[in-house]
């Protein structure tokens, strides 16, 4: 079995935990449904968001230039990073220039994608993730398992244990309010000490040069207001043209993500504070190449709400870490192969193609269709296993004519019916791992039809 299937199998060994994970995320999906249904124009809102993104992607170069010009006018220092390495150098350069050692960061999947934390830590910089979930996984030294709820794979008892070890909270006290208060005290100190604050960006408005960050904990604001230097990291696809477009997305984002009408904080950062510095780092890291692939372009509309994860039964039952990519779940499975199609070749197959992801997506990305397309492309490029390809070649031959098909069917039915159970239910029969094979009928439909409609059927059913 390949990567995802294997890791999912490990996750599922603890059935009770897997069911808990599934149920927890299903509750988030239900909250999303309730919130979406409270907006009668929900479907047209999705359509509008999709079209705004479509338009923006088609004019991305112009909007990026406009954004830079506005930001510079506002007194912001704008940097361009072609790839992850360049991005890390730029950020570390700003930190060095300011002789800074202590950095606070609010949640950013982009910095995760570029490996910013380990890069800075190697240079002796202390980076503290200030989003509660991010801080938890940072303590545990593991990647996020979800893009909005990075520690959703952990139970409160585990967090209690972790905080007891790291923050010296009372042993065995797993009251969420108590644990959150302890984290708050700990983080407050970090905010006060920080010399540089880094944030991700949800939306960058070309018209004004502002960046918009949506959080529930206010940690982006705490960091940015307290530290003299602020750095905002934004992927090129995060641009929206005008301020008036923003409302479309903020209405969709929190409802889709967590089933809230809006995030607790929607922070707009426009210009540096008096005496402070404001930097915006615009990152490509493979996005412009992705933009050039027409069949997959839509995926760049993603606003990182995570709704496709919450609705995906495969994600819920296999856990975010089973994907092994920075962004897990359905959207991750169509994004990751663009960065390394060999490494992530199994992800487009980690889906039953039920299509629920495409239906919840607030910007209407055709996720399940792209998963299907990836399967074709990976196969075409001979990236899927040769065994799989050979099997499919044979199947193609058998199924393209009735003579071979009828014969193979007959043999299979005979085998299942007459061979001893141990010949059929063994390691080679993956189906039989948790399922019985169908009970074998005495004849196929075609045999029955020929018997009962003698002289009728004939070649091509001509009578």
């Amino acid at each position: 079995m390949t990567g995802h299937a294997h890791k999912a199998g490990q996750f599922l060994k603890n059935g009770e935990r897997a069911s808990w994970h599934d149920e927890t995320l299903w509750i988030v999906r239900q909250k999303r449904d309730k919130m979406a249904r409270a907006v009668p124009e929900w479907e047209s809102l999705r359509e509008q968001a999709s079209q705004i993104k479509q338009h923006t992607l088609s004019e991305l170069d112009n909007y990026l230039i406009q954004f830079e010009q506005q930001a510079v006018k506002n007194g912001v220092q704008v940097h361009w990073a072609a790839n992850a390495g360049g991005f890390n150098e730029i950020v570390s350069g700003i930190i060095k220039e300011n002789n800074a050692r202590k950095v606070v960061k609010s949640k950013s999947m982009l910095t995760e994608e570029c490996g910013l934390n380990p890069f800075l830590e190697k240079q002796g910089v202390e980076v503290t993730d200030t989003d509660l979930g991010e801080r938890i996984i940072q303590f545990r030294d593991e990647p996020p398992s979800h893009i909005v709820m990075p520690a959703i794979h952990l139970k409160k008892e585990e967090i209690s244990e972790l905080f007891h070890e790291k923050l010296h909270t009372e042993k065995g006290n797993s009251d969420p309010a108590y644990l959150t208060a302890a984290a708050r005290l700990h983080l407050r100190q970090k905010f006060l000490e920080a010399e540089v604050a880094i944030t991700g960006v949800n939306f960058a408005v070309a018209e004004t040069g502002a960046v918009v960050v949506c959080t529930n904990e206010g940690n982006a604001d705490m960091g940015v207001h307290a530290a003299p230097v602020q750095i905002h990291c934004v992927g090129i696809e995060k641009i929206i043209p005008r301020m008036e477009d923003l409302g479309v997305f903020t209405r969709l984002l929190a409802r889709s993500a967590t089933g809230q009408p809006v995030t607790a904080y929607t922070s707009h950062y426009l210009a540096p504070k008096p005496g402070g510095q404001m930097h915006i780092v615009i990152v490509d890291n493979g996005r412009s190449q992705h933009l050039g692939k027409e069949d997959y372009r839509n995926a760049l509309k993603c606003i990182r709400c995570g709704a496709c994860m919450n609705t995906c039964p495969v994600y819920r039952k296999s856990g975010g870490h089973s994907y092994g990519s920075v962004i897990p779940g359905p959207i991750g499975s169509i994004l990751a192969p663009h960065t390394n199609s060999k490494k992530y070749k199994d992800l487009p197959f980690a889906s039953s193609l039920c299509g629920s992801c495409s239906n919840v997506c607030p910007v209407k990305i055709d996720i399940h269709d792209q998963l299907y397309r990836w399967r074709q492309d990976l196969s075409e490029k001979k990236i899927v296993s040769p065994g799989k390809r050979a099997t499919m070649k044979v199947a193609g031959k058998v199924l393209s004519g009735s003579r071979m098909y009828d014969l193979s069917g007959k043999m299979a039915r005979w085998g299942i019916k007459n061979l001893p159970r141990m010949f059929i239910y063994n390691r080679l029969n993956v189906w039989g791992k948790g399922r019985e094979l169908p009970e074998i009928p005495k004849e196929s439909f075609k045999q029955w039809y020929k018997k009962t409609h003698q002289g009728k059927g004939g070649k091509n059913g001509q009578e």
Binding site: P313, K317, A350, E380, S400, E436, S444, F445, K446, W448
Partner: protein, 251 residues
């Protein structure tokens, strides 16, 4: 429209042909009872979906061509499978779009949608005094739009429910998760066996918890998977394809 003059091609998907002939028989009998002239081309095999879903669309082209050859001459092609019909409609786009291909893609219908949309009826005079759980197969629901998926905020409808609600004595059981995937997913069931089985188990438990005796669907493939798990777990749950229920009528 004079139904009697319609030539109907019956497509029986490969796994139904081999493992569930009773579903094919029920479909044929039902269509004949509805007064239709039904033909079953003997050279038919499969829609090609198992190959394409595994990434081998190119290898599936001869299979697609065989389908088109067998079925392009009919006014409608009817099949007891939402998934196969969805595949023909959606994914035969890679063939050269000849008149025959376009005709087949346009005229191939899943059984329930054919009855509701083309025959324009929903009362098949059925008597079915059982507690029934409806598994809404994904390709039928989200692909063919046989109903409104729970994710969408639009007016709610379901062709499958419409047909079954008319059955005398039937009790349609509400589920905790009305349209979650069962985890079959074609070759997904063998490429990702652990997740697939877990998904199926969870669906079954929902039906059992709510008192379902008979679980039905538009796709026997979902039921083959669910029934396979139920038998392994020794649950007392029967899987019956919707064609068999609709054929238990007094027409």
């Amino acid at each position: 429209m004079n139904l009697k003059n319609l030539h109907i091609g019956l497509f029986i998907p490969c796994y139904i042909d081999q493992f569930y002939p009773q579903v094919g028989i029920a479909t044929l009998e039902l269509l004949q009872k509805l007064g239709l002239d039904v033909h079953y081309p003997l050279e038919q095999t499969c829609c090609g979906q198992p190959l394409a879903n595994s990434g081998s669309e190119k290898e599936a082209i001869p299979v697609y061509k065989n389908f088109v050859e067998n079925f392009s001459r009919f006014d409608y092609v009817v099949s007891p499978s939402g998934s196969c019909v969805y595949h023909v409609r959606e994914h035969y786009n890679i063939l050269e779009q000849t008149d025959e291909v376009e005709r087949v893609r346009k005229n191939t219908f899943e059984l329930c949608e054919f009855i509701v949309d083309i025959l324009k009826t929903d009362d098949l005079k059925i008597e079915y005094p059982h507690k029934v759980g409806i598994h809404q197969s994904c390709h039928g629901l989200r692909g063919l739009k046989l109903g409104t998926p729970s994710e969408l905020v639009t007016e709610r409808s379901s062709k499958v429910h419409r047909l079954l609600k008319k059955a005398k004595g039937i009790e349609i059981i509400g589920l905790d998760r009305e349209d979650e995937c069962c985890g079959f997913g074609g070759t997904f069931s063998v490429f990702e066996p652990d997740v697939s089985v877990k998904m199926g188990k969870d669906r079954l438990e929902d039906h059992l918890r709510n008192g379902v005796e008979i679980i039905t669907a538009t796709d026997m493939s979902c039921l083959m998977h669910l029934e396979g798990i139920a038998r392994r777990q020794k649950h007392n749950l029967k899987a019956v394809h919707i064609a068999e229920i609709l054929n238990s009528n007094r027409l």
